[in-house]
């Protein structure tokens, strides 16, 4: 199992990664900028994502929207922003590769001349509607904000979600866009991956042709954040929401993306909640039937991750019961670790997922996206095999140790989300939290 590639760095600093796969006459163009909501400051949250929207509104030499020529060429395309990075991608028929590179390079080099107040105001409205649709108007939609705001101090850049605060989005100004573009959107802060029906040499020549003329820019300083101090005491919060069933969120600080313990905790999450025979699903949903669903996840991020368990109480059952059942399973796991058979199942699933990720050249999570992830966060696009090895080398002892070190019984952030007006359904001692 491997993900082959070539890597070259253009004189202006742009990394160009190329992977050949001629099965289907399509090429994935995938461009990462190493900037995300982690680069924002309090009062201007949500900006990296708002900026991403503006990248689709036209650039100097083609100022009639980004989608039209590409959809006409048969492309699918999208972009996304998270805490650590912003990515943009097109999957085009091979004969439209020039077009996609022209469009991507034009918005990297020449976005600002096409920026107008009208575009800015329009996309600010669109983003506010995205926020309403995916957070405010969705059951449990504000829980994530409450969790990160308690895990991280107010000046820590993971204190807010990428979507940002509504008032910050409203307060954004067009001058902020210019400064942000100049600081982060240039070849030195970007990585371009091409994957698919393309010849590596020809691909490099095309990348040079379209992106070579763009000035290098200055590499932004990395965001340095003090490692969060895990609390020695649980933090208990309650949030009222328009929901039918109370839900419990447990969160712990955990090692950052690709750091020691990260893969082990990813596997711990699998042991806990992947499939009916996982520890928490089996105990809470299958056997005791005190929860309707349970999910554990290691949310891996560059400057520190968090591990989370989410469980929804079944009708008539309490969050206190759910919490006790989870605590009991966690204690059992920390005491004895997973069995060899459990680990074997989780490794089979993890290996299959690595293979599944080799099926597509583009889009979110496809091969071009993976090459850029490894290159952007590690400087090594060839990390695929070592990434897999992180999982293959896991043992029950290592998983137990990771759980014991990081998933401590008393250092948790605990959020109860309860139906409006029914605060008594929260875990005892929970303090109301304000998010909107």
């Amino acid at each position: 199992m491997n993900l082959s590639y070539t890597k070259h760095t253009l004189p202006n600093g742009l990394d160009v990664l190329i992977h050949e796969d001629h099965a289907v006459p399509i090429v994935a163009v995938n461009l990462w900028y190493h900037v995300g909501s982690k680069n924002e400051v309090p009062g201007r949250t949500g900006f990296a994502h708002l900026f991403e929207h503006l990248m689709f509104e036209g650039s100097q030499h083609y100022d009639r929207g980004y989608f039209h020529p590409l959809q006409e060429a048969g492309a699918s395309l999208n972009g996304s922003t998270n805490a650590d990075r912003t990515n943009y991608w097109e999957v085009v028929p091979t004969n439209a590769l020039d077009l996609a590179l022209w469009m991507e390079s034009d918005r990297m080099g020449y976005l600002l001349p096409a920026l107008t107040d009208a575009k800015f105001a329009n996309q600010r409205d669109v983003v506010l509607n995205e926020r309403r649709q995916n957070y405010e108007n969705r059951p449990y939609g504000l829980a994530g904000m409450a969790i990160v705001s308690a895990l991280y101090a107010a000046d820590h850049p993971y204190h807010w979600l990428t979507i940002g605060a509504a008032e910050d989005i409203q307060a954004a100004r067009i001058d902020d866009v210019r400064a942000f573009f100049q600081r982060y959107y240039h070849p030195r802060n970007a990585s371009l991956a091409l994957a698919g029906d393309i010849d590596a040499e020809q691909g490099l020549a095309l990348a040079e042709q379209y992106f070579g003329e763009i000035p290098a820019g200055e590499k932004p300083d990395p965001v340095i954040v003090p490692p969060p101090q895990p609390s020695r005491q649980d933090v208990r919060m309650v949030l009222e929401d328009r929901v039918e069933l109370p839900r419990l969120y447990l969160a712990w600080h955990s090692p950052g993306l690709f750091k020691d313990g990260d893969a082990e905790l990813d596997l711990v999450a699998e042991v806990l909640s992947s499939g009916k025979t996982s520890r928490l699903y089996r105990a809470l949903v299958y056997e005791q039937r005190i929860a309707t669903e349970v999910a554990a996840s290691q949310n891996s991020r560059e400057a520190g991750s968090f591990f989370q368990i989410v469980a929804t109480a079944a009708p008539g059952r309490t969050l206190a019961e759910v919490e006790r059942a989870i605590a009991k399973e966690m204690a059992r796991l920390i005491e004895r670790g997973p069995t060899a058979a459990e680990l074997e199942r989780c490794l089979a699933q993890a290996e299959a997922h690595f293979l599944f990720r080799l099926q597509t050249v583009g889009g979110f999570g496809g091969k071009s996206d993976q090459l850029n992830a490894y290159n952007t966060f590690l400087g090594d696009p060839g990390y695929f095999a070592r990434d897999l090895e992180r999982y293959r080398s896991a043992t029950p002892v290592l998983l137990r140790a990771a759980a014991e070190t990081h998933l401590t019984p008393a250092g948790r952030v605990i959020l109860s989300v309860v139906p409006r007006g029914r605060v008594a359904l929260a875990l005892p001692g929970s303090q109301p939290v304000a998010v909107s």
Binding site: H61, E72, Q133, R345, A352
Partner: protein, 455 residues
């Protein structure tokens, strides 16, 4: 070499693409076995299709097909529910169990070396489900809880109200999950009886796609399924015989959600079946109207007005006529304006702003040039093949898609829009704050605003 930025680069010559070849066989018991070689990654996708879904629910048992499908992996053959799940996990399988209006689909992707084990598991789930009481009790509770939670999910509320108002007592008149009352009244015998009636070898198609030869794939499927001898116990209504749904009683309905942060919209009517001869023309018409980012409706509602994160329309193709529907979630104070704009766009495409040459070309090009993209993974290919099986499409369907779309002109596409989208019949459903919206909605002059209670 400097880039010429005075104009966009032209497209190069199109590269040929060979659509995957489906090899077809039928076992003695009637199971259709379709195989496709796909050798990029050492994976196998196995898909079993039974063309029986929620439209076959008895009228007093909405939700029966879906819970039957849900029960297939809750113990099968020699394995208990936990053992089935453990076996799937140990081969790294990803299983999707889906019950739609027209079909039940089991789809599984696993490593190539687990082909026989994957097939054995699919076979047991399909043919030898255990349907044990205690598993049924748990699964039904989970579905009841899901229904409970859907009361707070605007998209689910909108889908439910739209479906019920549009199709009323028609077999498509309920969501596959069914209703609380019907789920509560079900007993385990209903599940077993439905399974015996619906799941039969002569109705089943098994598609195997992946890193093996046709012969290996075909032999493995045959080995798993040739022993299945059941005759269907009873009949299933043919969707071709479904009656036409009666027209909705009103044109505008609201599901009240106090203080809603947005209004969730569905606008549409019953349209055409998948097998309609002008299917391709309807697809192109939809691309122009609301089927992609640069369509008229999204450009208006999102990119011009900023009312929404996105608006799209689709023909939801089924065996009998499925709906044409617009989906959008819009900011509350723009609800009436968003509906007015959407209705205006739908009206205009048939009247004063017909589809232009450049729109036609854009729609055709997006569909055809992007077509090979949907044949990248084994799972995509298996699902594509399953469409041919479900809708009884011709064997050369994939390879004739592009020429058929390219042969369409403005008149064909406009004719499809005129025939299949009728502004006078559109039903608009709003999930939002009634008190805040009522005045604006009345201004739309769509008649009385019907109130839909959340069940």
């Amino acid at each position: 070499m400097a880039v010429d930025r005075s104009r966009l680069p032209s497209l190069g010559p199109e590269r040929p693409f060979r659509f995957p070849e489906i090899r077809r066989a039928t076992l003695a018991n009637g199971v259709r076995v379709w195989t496709v070689e796909h050798r990029q990654v050492p994976l196998i996708a196995i898909l079993a299709l039974v063309p029986v879904g929620a439209s076959s629910d008895p009228s007093n048992r909405p939700g029966l097909a879906a819970i039957t499908g849900d029960m297939l992996d809750e113990g099968a053959g020699d394995r208990s529910a936990l053992e089935v799940n453990e076996a799937l996990g140990r081969i790294g399988a990803q299983l999707d169990l889906e019950v739609g209006h027209d079909a039940t689909v089991l789809a599984l992707t696993t490593l190539q070396r687990y082909l026989p084990r994957g097939l054995e598991l699919i076979r047991d789930m399909l043919v030898r489900p255990r349907f044990e009481q205690r598993e049924f009790d748990r699964v039904r509770d989970l579905r009841l809880n899901r229904l409970l939670q859907m009361k707070d999910m605007p998209p689910a509320l909108a889908d439910r109200a739209f479906t019920q108002l549009l199709y009323r007592n028609h077999p498509y008149g309920h969501l596959p999950i069914g209703s609380e009352g019907a789920l509560r009244s079900l007993v385990i015998r209903d599940i077993g009886a439905f399974h015996r009636r619906a799941f039969a070898p002569a109705r089943t198609t098994v598609v195997a796609v992946g890193d093996a030869s046709h012969e290996e794939l075909g032999a493995a499927v045959a080995a798993a399924f040739e022993g299945w001898a059941a005759e269907p116990d009873g009949t299933i209504a043919d969707p071709d015989t479904f009656p036409d749904p009666t027209a909705p009683a009103s044109r505008l309905a609201i599901v009240h959600r106090a203080g809603a942060a947005q209004s969730e919209l569905r606008i549409g009517h019953v349209a055409l079946p998948r097998k309609a001869p002008d299917y391709h023309a309807a697809l192109v018409a939809n691309m122009v109207l609301g089927g992609q980012f640069v369509s008229r409706i999204n450009m208006n509602l999102r990119e011009d007005k900023g009312y929404t994160y996105g608006a799209r329309t689709a023909f939801e193709f089924r065996r009998a006529p499925g709906p044409f529907v617009l989906h959008a979630s819009v900011q509350s104070d723009a609800t009436a304006d968003a509906i007015r704009e959407a209705l205006g766009e739908i009206r205009a495409i048939r009247t004063d702003r017909p589809i232009t040459r450049s729109e036609l070309e854009l729609g055709r090009a997006s569909l055809t040039r992007g077509y090979p993209r949907s044949f990248e993974t084994a799972d995509q290919i298996a699902r594509g093949a399953a469409q041919l099986a479900l809708y009884e499409l011709p064997d050369d369907y994939f390879s004739t898609f592009i020429p058929k779309v390219l042969a369409l002109d403005e008149a064909d596409v406009t004719a499809a829009a005129v025939k299949h989208i009728d502004p006078a019949r559109l039903l608009s459903v709003v999930v939002g704050d009634r008190e805040k919206l009522l005045t604006g909605l009345k201004g739309l002059e769509l008649g009385d605003v019907a109130d839909v209670a959340v069940q």
